[in-house]
Symmetry: C2
Subunit: 341 residues, 2 copies
């Protein structure tokens, strides 16, 4: 079991690689409580018998304050105190909500994550953003707070449904688009099913991606600059995700295609590159178009966290692997939505 | 208008002294939204017409997640974004809840306080603790986050009810007990009504007390050591406060007398000093005894944030102006509750 450290400015995070879940308990200093969801409990509950478990219902629709309230009631009932460690075992919903609860319970207790999906392993579990949705608005409430540890047990992926492999690869493709043209070319030659079939290949890909994200966060933890690049595809993506109840990866895929079209208009992204992008997303089983309600999406964009006065900070590509933050005025954006998308 | 700065480790806080509320708007960089309560709106609403206002119902019973949810809905409806400043105008409930909302809305926006009660001016508004109650458990959920500014307009105290002057002096007496024997002696020679009648005297007392608290927080923002002293009277105090729906100052007064009795038993606090303490509290109109349900209080203490494994960190006095943190085992504490209180 190998460990590395992500040196985030606010707090370092220890990363355990090839780490069987059965070995986790020995690394924890004291009492711990697991937060997980019913799917994970069904699949891996036998490996969680070391800890009291708080089980939330599965799915983005439960990433809400009501679930937070419920977890807090259970923490009080279980006698959780400031010495208790919270362990989020699950996908992005579980890690987002566990990190948030741990940030506010008794004004902050220790926590760490055991990500169980590709999406959580390469993205959601890393970087300290947490929170819940408020109605149609994604992650409207939350904090920045780093987990103390990340525990990568690739064996947990054996029960991951194919749909969740596809979801996770949307974020892998995002990393390639904004930062790593070589990774993009690699993805064009491979398929998520190759990773599902080959645990070593999968571990290598996960680590390459988690390292890309962590390096960005180390440079800009509070998203003043470079970290904004990770929002590529997430502005329109988040808007359609909750509006149409789409899986996160599907929404981001649609959002990335939209951002590529805006990039063609604004930042000189080549049409042929956009076509490569569409083909790669299709290769990975991701949707590349949605006939969304433009007025409703515009309404949601106007409440987006990335709005600054009357502009929205969009992430656009100049080329595959090269991205930049471009402020677009809300009036211009409304026009572009009508004409380009 | 004089300003000073409290150099808290996580973020500096600018303090405006003798600062008329009418001058606040000119100091703010951009858009701001006020959070206040209905009592304040009735008394000072004419001075808040510069800003959109979110009005919460008055009283500790509304320091809950439901009120937070309501404020967040209103912030979204008013289009608050990451450039918006939240201004909490009110007593401790308003400042605690405003600081909490500002810490979690869009993962954190700017905020500052206009404390309008003695209690908020000398205690609640200072130091970055915020949060809400969960059932009987005080401040069970919250964060540490410093306000960007504190705005002291003593004229706002002119409408403060006498009961709230009394409440606030409980925290003034607390500061004297733990840190400042000279202040204790001064309080023995004066009365809250002197401060109500003499704005300059009041301003001086408020500043002396806010400086005492700020100096402690500058040394130990995250309450690893010295800051715990500020919890004097607050362990049993918090337990009886929500159990019997007592005003905060009354609960703390009862808690301080209880802590003095434990100090007699454990830390050599002289009986004659305890009597001075009881007399001072009575001089300021504060209750010094409550026949509380010891089993129920013990149950609440076992969920207290200050519990570490099987001990509770109590603040005890050795003398007036000298305090220390003493871990008391929960079994011993149950005995002391029965025999001493």
């Amino acid at each position: 079991m190998q460990t590395t450290v992500y040196p985030f400015p606010s707090a370092a995070c220890t990363v355990y690689h090839d780490a069987p879940l059965s070995a986790l308990k020995a690394t924890l200093p004291g009492r711990a409580i697991v937060v997980t969801d019913q799917h994970l409990m069904d699949a891996h509950g036998d490996q969680l018998s070391d800890w009291p478990c708080i089980i939330i219902p599965p799915g983005e629709q439960y990433k809400t304050q009501a679930t937070v309230d419920d977890i807090i009631e259970q923490l009080i009932a279980k006698g959780a105190d400031r010495q208790t460690t919270l362990i989020g075992v699950g996908g992005g919903v579980v890690t987002d909500i566990t990190g948030y609860v741990a940030s506010i319970y008794m004004r902050g207790i220790r926590f760490g994550f055991v990500p169980t999906s590709i999406l959580a392993m390469v993205d959601a579990a890393i970087g300290g953003k947490n929170g819940v949705d408020v109605g149609l608005y994604k992650n409207m409430v939350g904090t920045f707070r780093q987990p103390g540890f990340l525990w990568y047990d690739m064996a947990l992926l054996q029960t991951l449904p194919d749909a969740e492999w596809i979801n996770g690869f949307a974020e892998v493709i995002k990393h390639a688009c904004i930062k790593d043209a070589d990774l993009f070319a690699w993805l064009e030659q491979h398929h998520w099913a190759d990773c599902k079939a080959d645990a070593a290949l999968c571990a290598e890909l996960v680590r390459r991606n988690s390292d890309i994200k962590a390096a960005v966060v180390v440079n800009d933890e509070r998203e003043q600059g470079e970290r904004k690049l990770l929002n590529f595809g997430h502005t329109i993506g988040h808007a359609v995700e909750n509006l149409y109840q789409l899986p996160h990866g599907h929404a981001i895929s649609i959002g990335m295609v939209a951002a590529c079209k805006l990039s063609e208009e604004i930042s000189g992204f080549a049409s042929v590159e956009k076509e490569r992008m569409v083909q790669l997303l299709q290769r990975y089983g991701l949707p590349t178009h949605l006939a969304f309600d433009k007025a409703q999406v515009m309404d949601i964009l106007l409440k987006d966290k990335k709005k600054v006065n009357q502009t929205i900070h969009f992430i656009l590509l100049q080329a595959i692997g090269q991205s930049q933050v471009v402020p677009i005025g809300t009036a211009q954006l409304a026009d572009l939505l009508e004409q380009v998308l």
